[in-house]
Amino acid sequence: MYMILTVAAKEFRDGLRNRWVMAITLVFAVLAVGLGYFGAAASGRLGFTGLATTIASLSSLAVFLIPLIALLLAYDSVVGEDEQGTLLLLLSYPLSRLQLLTGKFLGHGAILAVSTALGFGVAGLVITLFSEQVQGGELWRALGFFILTAILLGWAFVALAYVISVLATEKSRAAGLALIVWFVLVLLYDLLLLGLLVATSGGQETVSTLPYLLLSNPTDVFRIANLIGFEAAQAYSGLTAIAAQNLLHPALLLFALLGWVMLPFALAAWLFQRRRT
């Protein structure tokens, strides 16, 4: 455990040093406050209005940003150390590969958790202070759930980044692969689903398999989780609303996200054991 924490502490300190923590916190805070304030601009008003709208627009932005940030943060974790020769050195220490990867995950996970909670937390504080309409308790419940799912989404992509990093033989390839994974999971997947729906004209079979198709993509799980609680938000969300009506309970969605953290991590750990160096 001491070894794991040593590695985690180093990764976290690197995150502070590289201004990752600060940058992510700032981006999230500015985005959340901005969206909250200008969210209703389309209806001709400014100011903090509906909570559902704010969370809906926040989640549709976060679903692009968080995976990208997580992949950028962690894509070179293994292949980067391999390239600079420190991986070989670390493995000659009394430290197992699983300990090394777990330590890195705790460090990267902490960077994401701290900056996500801080960034959106500050935004929540600003919104409660300046809004008359939004109820404090309701806001914090919704925002708390949003932050929790956002952190889990980030962790899932950190774990996916490790899979990439373990598989890649060069850092530049890992970067390219990370971009492809981001593009497929964040953009392409939903387009394909939409295409499938249109092609089958919303046939009964497609609609019944849709929840499972949505569960097999962490970004969709995140999106549904944050839209499901708000009827108003369902109006905005198009595709996800179709499946949101049945069998996608928040607890199940959290569980699915947790699975999306653990499975890729286990895969990365397994692949790492088999890696040549």
Binding site: T86, S92, P94
Partner: protein, 316 residues
């Protein structure tokens, strides 16, 4: 032999290693005793790094047996072994954004070393002045010294250094070997590899020459020289009269060079060198004499060529 007085720190028995289709090592047997400084020599791809990784337990042998401090270097008990081993990989780039002290602290924690030892080691390798500068600003020599400090964390009993002097200037190489000599005096076993042979000669007890994953030669430099039978180079300087060059020695010697400035160079067999020297000393015009043993380069070339032509003298 059973019950040897000196313990074998590293033992390789008929070890082979195959990467996919590439045979990196083929039936390598090697034994390193406690307190020895062994030079692992060979061209790139000879199997030096593979041998080191096998000893470190970073990779597993395809065949044969590896034992370090009498135990296999991988598996459950290997963690305990690793506390007693220091390693400096080839071309390692430490975390550039950290300072030298921070790098050493990180690795020190992973080796469960007391924090005070980091400062001690920084001083030992002469980096105390640059300890709080980022590694990014370090010269090649400073990086290598940091690497050595890292390998010395926890005062290991076995030190494995992969190409430790590559890219270093002569002064840095000298400093480096000064530290190695000190460690040797403390009874630390050192295995270091090199593909350049200059500078290493006076600091190793034994040379192990590898080529194509096989052992080409193994022995002290004197033994290897005797086995190769390579000639010594003997140079005589003097103001010789044009008809009085001391070209005829009492022993068979081949004149290899005859420069107008009065330098005469012979090639003499090892057992004849003293007789040749005596013969030269009698000449009145001699001002200076140089005797140069066959270099490691020459030995290396000899054993490599012998292996290639298949006329390899049997290795023990």
């Amino acid at each position: 032999m059973e019950g040897e007085p000196v313990m074998s720190v590293v033992e390789l028995e008929q070890v082979s290693k195959v990467f996919e289709r590439l045979e990196a090592l083929a039936g390598l047997s090697l034994r390193v005793s406690e307190g020895e400084v062994v030079g692992l020599l060979g061209h790139n791809g000879a199997g030096k790094s593979t041998t080191m990784k096998l000893i470190l337990g970073l990779i597993r042998a395809t065949g044969g047996e590896v034992r370090v401090f009498g135990q296999p270097p991988h598996g459950a008990q290997a963690h305990h072994l690793r506390l007693r081993i220091g390693y400096l990989p080839e071309n390692v780039m430490f975390y550039e954004q950290l300072t030298g002290r921070e790098v050493l602290r990180y690795f020190g924690r992973l080796k469960r070393v007391a924090a005070g030892q980091v400062d001690e080691l920084l001083e030992r390798v002469g980096l105390q002045g640059a300890a709080d500068r980022r590694v990014k600003t370090y010269s090649k020599g400073m990086r290598q010294r940091l690497g050595l400090a890292q390998a010395l964390l926890g005062w290991p009993r076995l030190l494995i250094l992969d190409e430790p002097t590559v890219g270093l200037d002569p002064l840095a190489i000298r400093d480096f070997y000064t530290i190695i000599d000190e460690l040797q005096a403390q009874g630390v076993t050192v295995i270091l590899s090199s593909h350049t042979l200059s500078g290493i000669e006076r600091h190793i007890d034994r040379a192990v020459i590898l080529g194509g994953g096989r052992l080409l030669a193994d022995g002290t430099l004197e033994e290897l020289r005797a086995r190769a039978g390579l000639p010594y180079r003997l140079r005589a300087y003097g103001r010789f009269a044009s008809d009085d060059w001391p070209e005829h020695l009492p022993v068979p010697a081949l004149v290899t060079q005859r420069a107008a400035d009065g330098c005469l160079e012979f090639s003499v067999a090892g057992q004849d060198k003293l007789a040749a020297l005596r013969g030269l000393l009698d000449h009145p015009a001699i001002q200076d004499i140089e005797l140069e043993p066959p270099s490691l380069e020459a030995l290396y070339a000899y054993f490599s060529a012998a292996a290639e032509s298949g006329s390899l003298p049997p290795c023990t």
